[in-house]
């Protein structure tokens, strides 16, 4: 056996690999630009969302409602797990206030409660509080509902709710170190006192500056729990100890697999509107949440009727609407919207130059993104707030903006190129940090192709989830970041373009904005309509500054089986109270038997 051929072969292989390494570099740039779409465009079904009329059938009792959800339940105690991650809390416990069901789709249809982050006192109704007053800015008085009992399980054993419970719960959430309220809003917690001024009367006192924050967090965010559970077990982190006044009792939990809730026969609420008015709630015998992290498995379960409700992306929705016409659906634009943030604070960076930002905005073909990529199933104007019934006053549709602002959102590559040259950047190199999923990279690939036509070379730096999240929370990216905005409930803090939170990713520090912000805070918690007006007035200026590049946001869909009644596509029945559709819904068991035989 000769050795020489061995080395020969090995060296050939190594040279090959070297050659490939150098070849590799050239393949990462896009070759050519194909932004004029060739070939046929698949027309997808797009029309305005159907109006689901209020139910006219008489509700019946019984049945199990099955949700499909993507993530595991992270915890059961609000002092340790945040409100948005402890989803079962919204079925087992309640807050002082929540959305007014009678003004929703089941009643007057003024609102549709599709956004999770709705936080306006003028649409709320009392839940554990029967009514409330705001005598002056800085004080709020709640009259606790009488005759509400906790769930009948030890150690609480179904006793009546009193003001002391409210005081205990709110104080606990303002003092426990891992509580979201305490850790995120320490100034508010320090300035607030909660006291019981009667067996069924609670008074909350806080400073004027923190009043807005307080009204966001304490009435419709903090859940009321019985103190016996904490005294006996130390905390409510074990699911077996979960107890509250809510319509369902947590009866089983298999981590990573499923949650089961059964009816609380002690529940105080009766159906407030519709043919079932006056009936004792809830209608359902039980509710199940199946944890299915894989998206195609979730959709498969929906198609084969193994689950009753599922959140669906726009592309699968088109498919379902075509092939499964019996399924009911609703769509809306979700209020956490993805945008391209830019470092506008670095003086030497091209992104601090307004002309550059405007050119970048004009260089994106929003109509192609909307009509071709999303099949028409998207909206262009989604930042800083989305369109919704509840916040109609704070939103301005594109057609109502002054012409200069409307022109920014027209695709004008020649003008963009000229503007860039004017600003002194005939060619530009930019880098954007994003998360390495195809959803994000696909959008950015298209933006990259658009910008090539105006002389901008964009490099897509796809990172893994935790690194991208870290870049977002610390705002520690170099030039551009693809990330999401804050929910609409915080619109009065102008948090997406003011302040130092992660949602002001573009480092905006504008005196005009600050002026409007100061004005806005005077009305926080007392006059929502005035805040809407202030917001509407500042929007044209905000958009003209092009602090972020929006993408067209596709609709989010909910699909549910036709035998689920008295559900109209809501996301929540309170501020970030996810998974509460089943509180008022009922299952038509006969219809289901007819359709799938069981």
């Amino acid at each position: 056996m000769k050795k020489h051929p061995v080395w020969l072969v090995l060296s050939v292989i190594i040279i090959l690999i070297m050659a490939l390494v150098s070849c590799k570099q050239t393949t990462t740039t896009t070759e050519g630009t194909g932004t004029t779409v060739k070939g046929q465009i698949i027309q997808r079904v797009t029309e305005t969302p159907p109006v689901i009329p209020p139910s006219v059938e008489t509700p019946k009792y019984g049945g199990t409602f099955v949700y499909a959800r993507e993530t595991d339940i992270q915890g059961f105690d609000e002092a340790f797990t945040q409100h948005f991650l402890a989803d079962t809390l919204h079925s087992t416990n309640e807050e002082l206030l929540s959305h007014d069901w009678t003004r929703g789709p089941a009643g007057t249809a003024e609102f549709d409660y599709q956004l999770p982050g709705i936080n306006r006192l003028d649409i709320k109704a009392g839940t554990l509080a029967e009514s409330w007053e705001i005598p002056e800015r800085g004080r709020m008085i709640f009259h606790i509902r009488q005759g509400v009992s906790f769930q009948n399980k030890p150690p609480v054993n179904g006793r009546e709710l009193v003001a002391d419970d409210v005081v205990y719960s709110l104080n606990r959430l303002m003092t426990e170190p891992r509580s979201y309220i305490k850790a995120g809003y320490p100034a508010m917690c320090a300035a607030t006192t909660v006291t019981a001024t009667g067996k069924y009367k609670v008074e909350i006192k806080t400073s004027e500056a923190e009043f807005g924050n307080m009204t966001s967090l304490l009435p419709d965010f903090a859940n009321i729990i019985p103190h016996e559970v904490i005294e006996t077990y130390g905390d409510m982190r074990d699911w077996k100890n979960a107890c509250g006044t809510g319509p369902f009792i947590l009866s089983d939990f298999v981590a990573g697999s499923a949650v089961t809730l059964t009816r609380n026969s002690n529940y105080w609420r009766t159906d407030p509107v519709g043919p079932g008015k006056g009936n004792k709630l809830p209608y359902l015998d039980s509710c199940k949440m199946l944890i299915i992290p894989d998206m195609s498995a979730r959709y498969a379960a929906l198609r084969t009727a193994k689950v009753d409700w599922c959140g669906v992306t726009w592309d699968e929705a088109a498919n379902l609407r075509k092939n499964y016409p019996t399924l009911k659906w609703a769509k809306f634009i979700h209020d956490t919207v993805y945008v391209i943030y830019m470092r506008t604070d670095k003086a030497d960076s091209p992104l601090s130059n307004l002309k550059v930002r405007q050119a970048l905005t004009m260089g994106v073909d929003y109509t192609t993104l909307k009509d071709v990529f999303y099949g028409g199933d998207a909206q262009i104007m989604c930042w800083p707030v989305v369109q919704s019934k509840e916040y109609a006053g704070a939103y301005v549709p594109l057609e109502q903006y002054p012409q200069e602002v409307q022109d920014l959102y027209k695709y004008q590559p020649e003008k963009a190129r000229a503007l860039l040259a004017e600003a002194g950047y005939p060619s530009l190199k930019l880098t954007i940090v994003c998360y390495n999923t195809p959803t994000q990279v696909d959008v950015l690939s298209q933006v990259k192709a658009f910008w090539e036509k105006i002389g901008v070379d964009l490099t897509i730096d796809a990172k893994d989830y935790a690194v991208w999240t870290a870049a977002m929370t610390r705002r520690s990216y170099d030039q551009m970041l693809y990330s999401y905005t804050s929910g609409i409930g915080t619109f009065w803090k102008m948090i997406n373009y003011n302040g130092t939170s992660q949602f002001n990713g573009s480092y905006v520090n504008d005196p005009k904005v600050l002026e409007a912000y100061t004005e806005m805070q005077k009305y926080a918690g007392i006059d929502e309509k005035k805040m809407d007006e202030i917001h509407r007035n500042i929007l044209p200026y905000v958009l003209s500054q092009c602090w972020v590049i929006t993408r067209t946001t596709p609709y989010t869909y909910y699909f549910w089986q036709p035998w689920v009644k008295n559900y109209y596509g809501q996301t929540a029945n309170g501020y970030y109270d996810y998974y509460t559709a089943h509180n008022y819904a009922w299952i038509d068991l006969e219809l289901r038997k007819q359709m799938i035989g069981k």
Partner: protein, 320 residues
């Protein structure tokens, strides 16, 4: 024999300690700390509050002490069987892992059985009929099985039947105690896919072992005596060829445990693989460390068992 076992057990200990150090350190090197992830869901309005929030989180999670102190604390827990609490859910990790191991174990055992059923007959047949059409077909089929990406098959099985036949795999995990039939039905598809993918290595090993054994003198003697083929193959060759197959099972164990990650994700089974995957995404350090330590220990112990069984079956080995 017993000295062999004791010697092996003693040798495991330094390996185990090395394993815990590797696991602990490597996890800390993962960029993107859990503190950033947690503060992503908190809205610190003012920078000062952001730092406070971070400090709170750090303190509560026990991450504000130096690294070797953290390691010592954790190691003490590991030795007593307490792997700590998850950073995100606060649940006891040991209990989580113990709850999930039976699922991964069941999947693994079913996959192993499937792979044996496929691999051993084909391997023996291929060896006995070497270089004939039967051998070619058998080997092609076996190699085809291991060339199919398991995750591709799994995704196909979940996506397409739901459209064609209105069937999808069970959306919820059915424990074996609740419904044996349903449970087996739920596990059989991912187990078969995993088994198919694993059968290639076993088939090759079986074939190689059989080929080697068939060249031995005692087999040639059997042929010369004029014994029937089945007698030679089954009574003389196979028994001796199967001994190393025990080693193969031991080698497959890490593959089993690792391979189940993808199947558990696609078929929605709450096993150990899923736990690790979720923990990695969320940077849940104690969970990552805990799962890795448990798995490594299991592999070491199973290897020891396999070696002992091998030594028992083949007396030439035990006194090395």
């Amino acid at each position: 024999m017993s000295t062999y076992i004791i010697r092996r057990l003693i040798l495991i200990i330094p390996t185990l300690i090395l394993v815990t150090i590797i696991v602990f350190l490597s996890v800390r090197f993962i960029p993107g700390s859990v503190i950033d992830l947690m503060s992503a869901t908190m809205p610190p309005d003012v920078t000062a509050d952001a730092e406070d929030a971070r400090a709170y989180i750090k303190n509560v999670l026990g991450l504000d002490v130096p690294l070797h102190v953290q390691y010592a604390r954790w190691f003490r827990g590991v030795v007593t069987g307490d792997l700590g609490d998850s950073l995100w859910t606060g649940r006891d990790i040991t209990r989580e892992i113990l709850n999930r191991i039976p699922i991964s174990l069941e999947l693994g055992i079913l996959a192993l059985i499937t792979s044996m059923i496929i691999a051993v007959p084909i391997g023996v047949y291929s060896a006995v009929r070497q270089d004939t059409i039967g051998d070619y077909i058998g080997r092609s089929v076996a190699i085809f099985c291991i060339s199919l990406p398991g995750f591709w098959l799994g995704t196909m099985v979940v996506v397409f039947p739901s459209v064609w036949w209105g069937w999808s795999p069970s959306a919820q995990y059915i424990p074996i105690t609740d419904d044996l039939g349903g449970n087996l039905l739920q596990f059989i598809i991912p187990a078969v896919i995993m088994g198919m993918v694993m059968s290639g290595t076993t088939m090759r090993m079986t074939r190689t072992m059989m080929l080697e054994v068939l060249r031995q003198d005692y087999v040639k003697t059997a042929w010369a005596k004029g014994l029937r083929e089945r007698s030679v193959v089954v009574r003389h060759a196979m028994k001796n060829a199967m001994i190393p197959v025990v080693t193969i099972i031991g080698l497959q164990v890490p593959v089993l445990i690792g391979g189940s990650v993808i199947m558990e994700r696609i078929f929605n089974l709450p096993g150990i693989g899923r736990l690790l995957l979720d923990a990695l995404g969320q940077r849940d350090y104690p969970v990552i460390s805990g799962v890795n330590v448990v798995m490594a220990t299991a592999v070491l112990l199973i290897n020891l068992v396999v070696d002992v069984v091998y030594a028992y079956l083949d007396p030439r080995i035990s006194y090395r």
